[in-house]
């Protein structure tokens, strides 16, 4: 039939290959179906205008306007889906579809957005920049998840660690600001404290899981529930009546010199809050660390085959402790973003599932930092569109829009888009001899 069908070996590891081929075909058909849906949607929407504008230099300056119709955007989405479907069906299991997904998702999301706006103009720069901002904590949570799962520890507790990070950042930053009045110092100390607190929580998780062999899921649940309990308790008992302890100076956007002056791209990528830049750096840094250093190789070995790693003299447990600690630092950073850079203060249960959505981004990105970053971007986009639509008053119930990230998370975790294999030994305790 196709080249891929021939490529399947008739014997031996045939089962896995057949399964991969079947998955590939399902994927190909799914992309084709998306294309057909896009064509169907296009037929009825050529009359609706779509108008997107992009700031060229900066907010409020000159803008480039893209004038088209919703139907045209759907046609573009249909063509994109058709190309990827064809590639997938022709090349079968050997097709590296993950990067190509962008060709399907990006025009689809744009067309969907135009369809929902139904004629109202939107500023695309703000939507994309907003997606980046909203994706940052999710991407950071995903990075933390990658670090710990690559080492062989499940990390259900990201949510709780982010919550503790958000809480600590707000309180410490407020206190430092009250005593010194220095905004920069307050922010830095607040973020550092958030990272330390979440890092220590991570150590507690690792200690329960490694030393006491508590099931890693239960240990994570303990931390998630405990974090909600203790932060709500202190919020209600102390912060509610002493709001000055919960009024940190907020983190403002920062234009990167030179880069921010790039036309069109500058306002999107380089005029954001510093957290976004830290996110970029972390993604690149962790990709390098995990795939290009000895430390990364040992980390991956501990997660895939700890017994083999132990045999060649790698201290698996030490690696796991350290990985969970670093994961804690990153999730604390992500948490501090929520209280310092978005809400301006700590609110009860403000993480609202972002830690779990981060785990979904990790899975969607196949445990790779760059993949996880783009997956987080999709969730960020969903959030950004949701706030845009509610500002414009588009007639979709806010509750339904708000549930989109959660539904997408379930779909992703269920591997509907494409099953991926995680680290082989994640979640299993390791007995070091």
């Amino acid at each position: 039939m196709t080249a891929a069908a021939v490529a399947v070996p008739a014997t031996g590891e045939g089962l896995a290959a057949r399964r991969a081929l079947r998955d590939a075909r399902i994927r190909g058909v799914a992309f084709a179906v998306l294309g057909v849906i896009a064509v169907y949607l296009a037929t009825s929407s050529f009359a609706i205008p779509a108008s997107f504008s992009l700031w060229i230099q900066q907010q409020g300056g000159d803008s480039a306007v893209l004038q088209t119709t919703v139907g045209t955007l759907w046609v573009v989405a249909a063509v994109g889906s058709a190309i990827v479907a064809a590639l997938q069906l022709i090349r079968g299991a050997a097709f590296r579809w993950r990067p190509w997904l962008f060709v399907v998702i990006a025009p689809w999301l744009l067309a969907l957005l135009a369809n929902l706006l139904s004629g109202k103009p939107a500023i695309l720069t703000n939507v994309i920049a907003g997606s980046l901002e909203l994706a940052t904590p999710i991407a950071m949570a995903a990075l933390a998840g990658i670090l710990s799962e690559r080492s062989g520890m499940l990390n259900i507790a990201l949510e709780g660690k982010m919550l503790i990070g958000a809480f600590t950042a707000s309180v410490v930053s407020s206190l430092v600001y009250i005593t010194t009045g220095n905004v920069l110092l307050a922010t830095i100390v607040g973020v550092a404290a958030a990272m330390a607190a979440a890092g220590l929580t991570g150590l507690l998780l690792a200690w329960l899981g490694i030393r006491h062999k508590v099931d890693q899921i239960i240990a994570g649940t303990v931390i998630n529930i405990g974090a909600i309990g203790i932060t709500n308790f202190i919020f209600l008992r102390v912060l509610q009546h002493n709001t000055e302890f919960n009024s940190p100076p907020s983190v403002e956007p920062m234009r990167l010199p030179l880069l921010a002056d790039l036309p069109v791209i500058g306002p999107i990528l380089f005029s954001a809050k510093p957290y976004v830049y830290v996110g970029y750096i972390l993604v690149i840094f962790l990709t390098y660390m995990i795939y290009r250093t000895r430390w990364g190789l040992r980390l991956r070995a501990s997660g895939e085959k700890p017994a083999a790693a132990g045999t060649v003299g790698i201290n698996v447990l030490a690696i796991r402790y350290r990985a969970i600690f670093f994961a804690g630092l990153i999730s604390g950073l992500a948490g501090s973003y929520l209280s310092l850079a978005t809400a301006g203060s700590f609110q009860m249960e403000m993480t609202a599932g972002k830690g779990f959505i981060g785990l979904a981004a990790m899975i969607f990105g196949a445990w790779h930092p760059i993949g996880a970053f783009f997956a987080a971007l999709v969730f960020g986009f969903a959030d950004a569109v949701q706030s845009l639509l509610s500002i414009l008053g588009v007639g979709v119930a806010p509750q339904l829009l708000a549930s989109v990230p959660y539904v997408v998370t379930i779909v992703v975790v269920a591997g509907v888009v494409g099953r991926v294999r995680g680290p082989a030994s994640a979640g299993q305790p390791y007995e070091q001899g």
Binding site: E149, L154, I156, L208, R211, H212, V214, D215, I217, I218, A219, G220, T221, V222, I223, I225, G226, I228, G229, I230, N232, F233, I234, L236, R237, V238, A352, G353, F356, L359, A360, I363, A397, Q399, L400, A402, S403, Y406, V407, T409, I410, V413, A414, G415, V416, R419, G422, P423, A426, G427, Q428
Partner: protein, 416 residues
């Protein structure tokens, strides 16, 4: 005698876990009492513990005094005042008796949904499924019951509505639990993530449903449903004014018996436990592991949903956004505390029902937020799951944890 010994050995870890968690809770109360602690340099006695008589009333203050006040309020909120109950019973005045025994019956009222959700957690954990979506399943069940009751109001007799509402609640909750079971069995999606996501979705679905004028209380700006008690009400056990305890509690106890029978006296129950204990072995023995997962999750959700149904048409009387509150978390803590035994679930639910009910009075009387209990429950789970901690804190020899707790997640389970 030996059975008693075995029971005491088994009960040592759970009992010490609760005690330790409450002690840690006390430390948290002391450490967050900044107003009292600020005086520690100038007046250590007043800062820590101070008893004085103001207007003929004994007033305890100070940071440690705050603990006494808080836990004292929790106790009297949960059990009432024994002396007052006896005097009320002697006088025989209905209103006095009702006021005196109300704390006790309210504890049972708080216990009722905890038994349902605790059994739900126990049944899923036994099958190796870590269902932490009890809260969401309860909400969906409650929503189903609410919609049924309002739709059928005035068209059929009230007992029919009662049964219909409970059936819909059970089915709706079961469906909400079946989704993660199905996803786990078919795609390997980890139930912890899917159940948590379904909790958020359930809250949004209920919020969305409560926008509809059919369900929402007339003239209300906040998302609460109409009062259901004029339409349908679960009969009360004791007919006294202001006493909400109804036959939902009895059904909860019957469910504990039913779950116990199912798990330990039937083939299906054996299969459930076998796939939770060792998935590979169960598969090898020819059992359908995927079937067990789906069944366990559906039953689990059905129990939680039934609990939600009994709340809205019985004790609470209307659907609100915070109906499930901390019940989902509490259920996990108490099911683990109970060693996943149905009889233990009932006892642990009584304990946590008392804590929950007492916690409300604690919030009102001593200003200690209810969320302290959420933190304490997390600690209880931690101590029960890590008996080594209890052993080293209390320097006692304790029984090894039941194997079924050690093996909550099946070996070779797909990664998250």
């Amino acid at each position: 005698m030996n059975r008693l010994k075995a029971f005491l050995r088994r009960a040592a870890v759970p009992a010490l876990s609760v005690v330790t968690a409450l002690l840690v809770g006390a430390i948290v109360i002391v450490l967050t009492d900044f107003e009292a602690l600020a005086k520690i340099g100038s007046d250590p006695a007043r800062a820590l513990f101070w008893v004085e008589t103001v207007n003929g009333k004994t007033v305890i203050s100070g940071a440690l005094g705050g603990v006494v006040n808080a836990y004292g309020a929790m106790l009297s909120g949960a059990f009432g005042d024994p002396g007052r109950i006896i005097t009320a019973l002697q006088t025989g005045k209905e209103r006095d008796i009702a006021t005196a025994i109300r704390p006790l019956t309210e504890t049972l009222v708080a216990t009722m949904p905890l038994i349902f959700t605790g059994l739900a957690v126990a049944i899923s954990f036994r099958a190796g499924m870590f269902n932490i979506g009890g809260g969401g399943q309860l909400m969906i069940g409650a929503l189903g019951a609410t919609i049924t009751a309002i739709m059928l109001a005035g068209q059929v007799p009230s007992p029919v509505i009662l049964i219909a509402a409970l059936t819909v609640a059970t089915l709706a909750g079961g469906f909400w639990g079946f989704i993660p079971g199905f996803l786990k069995a078919r795609t390997g999606a980890h139930e912890v993530i899917t159940t948590i996501m379904l909790n958020y979705i359930a809250a949004l679905v209920v919020f969305f449903a409560l926008r509809s004028p059919t369900l929402r209380a007339a003239g209300s700006t906040s998302p609460v449903s109409k009062n259901l008690s004029p339409i349908v009400d679960v009969p009360n056990i004791i007919n006294l004014p202001n006493i909400r305890l109804d036959y939902g509690f009895v059904v909860a106890l019957l469910m504990a018996v039913a779950v116990s029978w199912l798990l330990f006296r039937t083939t299906k129950g054996f299969e459930l436990r076998a796939s939770g204990f060792n998935l590979t072995a169960a598969r090898y023995a020819g059992m359908s592991a995927g079937g067990s997962m789906m069944l366990a999750m559906a039953l689990s959700g059905a129990l939680a949903g039934m609990g939600g149904g009994f709340m809205v048409i019985g004790t609470v009387g209307q659907l609100t956004l915070d109906l499930s509150g901390s019940i989902g978390f509490t259920a996990i803590a108490l099911a683990l505390l109970a060693g996943l035994r149905p009889s233990g679930v009932v006892m642990a639910a009584l304990l946590f029902g008392a804590l929950t009910n007492g916690g409300k009075l604690m919030g009102v009387q001593s200003g200690i937020p209810f969320d302290l209990l959420v933190f304490i429950m997390a600690l209880v789970i931690m101590f029960v799951a890590a008996p080594g901690l209890i052993r080293s804190i209390w320097r006692v020899k304790v029984a090894k944890p039941a194997p079924e707790i050690a093996a909550v997640t099946p070996t070779g389970a797909p990664t998250v």
